[in-house]
């Protein structure tokens, strides 16, 4: 689905409104009005009536306050109660994606249907070619018996009028690991064991039914607590906003973060470690090594592929390295990692590297609520891990990590700098069903390469599920940010 759509806009509007209420300290007082304000005149009704729309928006609001509100009875609870809990909690509550049952359209599961375009022709190749005899004619029109159809699609290919179409279930189509399942009541659910948090379903569901408990409130609370809070900004986060790195750094600082550290600085350590791990592996002749910085990918490798299909490097991600550097210099600081990625939330929990992760969508909403105008910000350098202004920007290669091909290019460049021949590299640009199928075949026939770079999002982190800029614009911005890096 096109990245910019009404569902995405609604998500951001709710976040920005909530952030405003929080920043102006009138959350519990005014939160019940929020669903009415969103659906004020000008709102185009989505479901049967505006009341249903508001009921769903209430649950979206609760999710944005950081709660998993997948169950039906969550709808009874007053928003003010959710708000109070959100204000009082000390640590973020639930993690992981969930279906908003009320918002889910229960998309049809019969994959092929005959449309009105059917002419009821003489040839009827749909019926004669169906291997399951699932196509029959009613009043001169083709019909598919869903109990017999196995979804092979031969009828659709055979129809000269293109009258037979496949109505996809967008979330199931999008999920590369089969984590969208139906429970005993037929309701869609996310199987959390299988889910790799790539966020494809969040983006692809046309009803915006897949949600995720936001961390925005926890981040605002942390910054307001008076603690020293360090923002670790991923290259892909810098690339989401207009104005370039200097203004971005100033804008983030204006929200109350005490220092702004480039995650790309940590990527330099990742490049170093990844290079050595790969060198040793090549010397031992053990076959290709896959990169480890994409957490959606590393979980996929763990849970959806056999252990012999690929070996994932043990090198920590740039997030982990940059967090370690800050923690070493300032053990008392709270760390907030900012990127367009959802899977980093789990990596943060598993590694304990940072206190919170904030998505670029959440950061953007915070800017809007605070009235931050990035264009009118002064230029501000990034900070070193100890909080002093950084002496040099992160390197070009490290900043380019945010785009597909960036990690492999950086490791190759290190090989060459060490006087070694560049390794053979293979990039998996986007972890979709086809990519996983291909990787499944590697068990029998490993690819003839040394380094496999895998990024779950097509185009790389810069096109993560919580990105806000047009992917083309963000990729250009990332290129400029990288160019301005040091050697």
């Amino acid at each position: 689905m096109h990245f910019n759509n009404r569902a995405a806009r609604l998500r951001r509007e709710i976040l920005a409104r909530l952030a405003t209420l929080r920043l102006e300290d009138r959350l519990t007082e005014d939160i019940e009005r929020l669903p009415y304000q969103v659906t004020a005149p000008g709102w185009e009704t989505v479901r049967c009536c505006v009341h249903k729309d508001r009921a769903i928006i209430r649950l979206r609001v609760a999710a944005r306050l950081g709660f998993d509100v997948g169950a039906k009875d969550d709808i009874e609870k007053p928003l003010a109660d959710y708000a109070k809990e959100a204000l009082e909690r000390k640590a973020p509550s639930a993690v992981g994606l969930f279906f908003l049952e009320e918002a889910c359209n229960d998309c049809v599961s019969s994959p092929y249907i005959v449309t009105d375009v059917c002419q009821g022709c003489l040839a009827r190749p749909c019926a004669s070619n169906c291997p399951k005899k699932a196509v029959h004619f009613v009043e001169g029109r083709s019909r598919i018996d869903p109990t017999l159809c196995v979804g092979c699609g031969i009828c659709a290919q055979a129809c000269p009028y293109k009258a037979i179409i496949k109505v996809p279930v967008p979330c199931e189509e999008a999920c590369p690991v089969g984590a969208v399942v139906r429970d005993e009541n037929g309701e869609r659910r996310i199987d959390k064991e299988r889910c790799v948090e790539c966020g494809r379903c969040v983006r692809e569901c046309p009803f915006g039914a897949v949600m995720e408990p936001s961390r925005l409130f926890d981040a605002i609370a942390t910054v307001r607590s008076g603690a020293k809070v360090v923002a670790l900004v991923a290259p892909a986060a810098v690339a989401q906003f207009p104005g370039g790195p200097g203004k971005f750094s100033a804008a983030v600082a204006s929200l109350g973060f005490s220092s702004i550290v480039e995650v790309a600085a940590g990527a330099e350590a990742t490049i170093e470690a990844e290079t050595h791990e790969l060198l040793e592996r090549i010397e031992r002749g053990e076959g290709p090594l896959a990169t480890s910085c994409c957490p959606a990918w590393t979980k996929t490798a763990r849970t959806a592929l056999s252990s012999t299909a690929t070996t994932v490097s043990s090198t920590p991600s740039p997030m982990v390295y940059s967090a370690r550097a800050v923690k070493a210099a300032r053990p008392d600081a709270a760390l907030v990692f900012i990127s367009p990625c959802l899977a980093k939330r789990r990596e943060a929990e598993e590694t304990g590297a940072v206190d919170l992760t904030l998505s670029t969508e959440e950061l953007g909403a915070w800017f809007v609520a605070a009235g931050t105008e990035i264009a009118s910000m002064p230029e501000r350098p990034f900070d070193a891990p100890d909080g002093t202004p950084a002496l040099r920007p992160a390197t070009r290669d490290a900043r380019a990590f945010g785009a597909s091909g960036g990690v492999a290019a950086a490791v190759s460049a290190r090989f060459v700098a060490m006087g070694r021949p560049a390794p053979r590299t293979l990039a998996i640009n986007g972890l979709d069903k086809a990519a996983i199928k291909e990787m499944g075949r590697w068990e029998a026939a490993p690819p003839q390469t040394d380094l496999i770079e895998v990024m779950a999002c097509q185009g790389g982190c810069v096109n993560g599920p919580c990105s806000i800029a047009n992917p083309r614009a963000a990729t250009v911005a990332l290129g400029k940010y990288a160019e301005a890096g040091s050697d």
Binding site: E13, Q37, A40, G364, V368, A369, E373, I374, I468, N470
Partner: protein, 93 residues
């Protein structure tokens, strides 16, 4: 005589966050006969976000664009292309 159609796209933070960054690609969506007439300019916050009704704040009906001075609210590629096309037809007639 046909004149130029001036499209101003808000590049302010609220409009950007609400999805305005792609509006700069609107020419791709226009009919070739119109494309040549259109000039596109990005300017910092048009202030429409801040001047919106209190119930619509923050952000108002961002993203905003102006087509010959007339605001397009909640603009996306389709609605902005439609507004530009309508303006071209108006000028023609």
């Amino acid at each position: 005589m046909r004149t130029e159609i001036k499209v101003v796209i808000c590049a302010g933070t609220a409009c950007h966050v609400m999805g305005g960054s792609e509006l700069f690609l609107v020419k791709d969506r226009l009919d070739e006969s119109i494309r040549g007439l259109v000039s596109i300019e990005g300017i910092p916050c048009l202030d429409l976000c801040r001047r919106s009704a209190p119930d619509r704040r923050p952000g108002g009906s961002a993203p905003y664009a102006l087509v010959d001075g007339v605001p397009v609210e909640r603009a996306d590629l389709d609605s902005l292309a439609a507004a530009i096309t309508a303006r071209a037809i108006e000028l023609e007639g």
